[in-house]
Symmetry: C2
Subunit: 319 residues, 2 copies
């Protein structure tokens, strides 16, 4: 009997899951919609049905040791999902406790970026590191900070929200209600907003000018940058410049050995890493310079959120 | 025989020391100059002589268990003082190792603000807290971050330098060589710089206008503010505004249960705490609001650096 865990990533639109062994091999994976369920009980019931069906072919060969969830506003200490903007279930949901009726094994939960950081440590580029940070660059910017070998959950279970540190006091409007948050600059959405500002500020022609706000994506900007589109290149430079400053500030807090970037933007390679690292080194306190690596995630082509959720529960079982 | 440790705070001008028991009682304290010793060996010899003399009256009643040092650019992992701008001993000094020849007990070293954070946890307001931050507002701004019950030293032993996170990309010149660092705004020196800017920007009369740059101090600004001097009041407001933003960002990193402010500025009471807390709450991500305390240090009227250095070695001995 192979020992496995179930890792589940709850996104606003889709839920992804995987049956994962301790070495990070995903034996089975799948997905189902999230947003068709107005009620969390209906959702959990459907998820259980989905998992049962998925597991069936290998049921007699595996022993399920636990279930780990990554979810927006997921609280590790309480197993709750609290007032998640992208989910239909409002208020404080005692998610882990509710789900225990389906599997009689430990169930743990944290937010998706924290899960990603644990996954990077167990399966990815941070293996063996005691101090590192993972930044997920998606629609928003998520982060998980590890110091002294432990994920920093903070006193209330919600630590590691670098997407909401301030870039500019009266800067861009953020979904959280504040102004100038980092994720409004450094994320797939952030670089699109930057491209629109640059189409205003600069006069050069650009392939980006033919897209409206709904049409433009970070992938289109990346393609344009590869064709030497000046506005697209400048958008990446500016994104890296801001990200470099804020990663340098993060170093002044916890001084990681490496910072891992994950997600669509991070896949753009040199065009984002070069300006980020340049700005990072320039803005680091001199004692930190040329010591700290900024690297693509070691799980870049895998489902880091599912891997992270499974790493979370493996870590819990090992305690 | 009472078990005690020696706590030593190495400052650029003076060295302060105390013989401290486990409850934080300072049995003996004293000080000697730092900057008259060009050579670290001469300094250590003089410090040993000074300590021997101080201990003499109670020598037969105590057992010295260890020595803890707080020093600028002190590295906990290596016991070194590395390129400290305010000390005459240049390069990398293997301070702890060198000092072991004088006392045959464990010798540990960290930077002064990290020591302060450990002291706050052992003797001060952070007793029993697993997640907290200590900010020392002196000539500069120092910080010590504790998460999961452990001080964050970072991978290289130099973590917790919030004095050098960025307020403005092209802001005030900092002693570290960068521009716009937090300590150029929020510290005794920072508020003086702010007062000079406000004397430029504002037209109202002010008692501060009679002081030149060398004469003006944060204490003078505090006294003026108590007399309702508009520029002095505005200087405190601005200092608190900036500090509040950056403490809100620190919460997004490690989410402490409380943040303790220590030092001259922190002694100004409401006039600094009120604008700091207002700005802090405004700039916090909503999920953190009304949860996190900003408090004066519980060691405010004690020598936090000596207490911290002694707490550091007590903590080490308890490992």
């Amino acid at each position: 009997m192979k020992q496995v865990v179930i890792g589940v990533d709850i996104g606003g639109t889709f839920t992804k899951y995987g049956i994962v062994d301790k070495d990070g091999n995903v034996l089975i994976e799948g997905s189902m919609p999230t947003d068709t369920f107005d009620n969390v009980n209906d959702y959990q019931k459907a998820l259980f049905g989905e998992l049962e069906k998925a597991i069936k072919p290998i049921k007699n060969d595996i022993e399920i040791k636990g279930v780990g969830f990554g979810a927006p506003n997921g609280n590790y200490y309480k197993g709750t999902i609290e007032n998640a903007a992208n989910l239909k279930w409002k208020g404080v949901i005692h998610f882990a406790e509710l789900f225990k009726k389906y599997f009689n094994v430990p169930v743990v939960l944290t937010n998706d970026a924290n899960a990603a950081a644990i996954g990077e440590g167990l399966y990815g580029g941070a293996k063996g590191l005691r101090d590192y940070i993972v930044i997920t660059l998606g629609t928003g910017l998520g982060s998980g900070l590890v110091a002294n070998g432990e994920l920093i959950y903070g006193f209330d279970g919600f630590a590691g929200e670098l997407g909401h540190i301030m870039v500019e006091p009266n800067g861009r409007q953020c979904g959280c209600g504040k102004l100038g948050c980092l994720e409004t600059y450094c994320s797939a959405t952030g670089i699109k907003r930057t491209a629109f500002k640059l189409m205003c500020d600069m006069s050069v022609d650009s392939e980006l000018r033919k897209y409206n706000y709904h049409e433009l994506t970070s992938e289109i900007i990346f393609e344009a940058a590869k064709h030497n589109d000046l506005i697209a290149i400048e958008a990446f430079k500016y994104t890296g410049y801001i990200l470099g400053i804020k990663l340098a500030d993060a170093v002044a807090h916890t001084t990681p050995e490496a910072i891992f970037l994950f997600g669509g933007l991070a896949k753009s390679g040199e065009i984002i890493f070069k300006p980020t690292i340049e700005s990072f080194e320039k803005h680091l306190l001199p004692i930190y310079r040329n010591k700290i690596k900024i690297l693509p995630s070691g799980l870049q082509n895998k489902n880091i959120a599912v891997m992270g959720a499974s790493a979370l529960i493996w870590k819990e079982l090992g305690k």
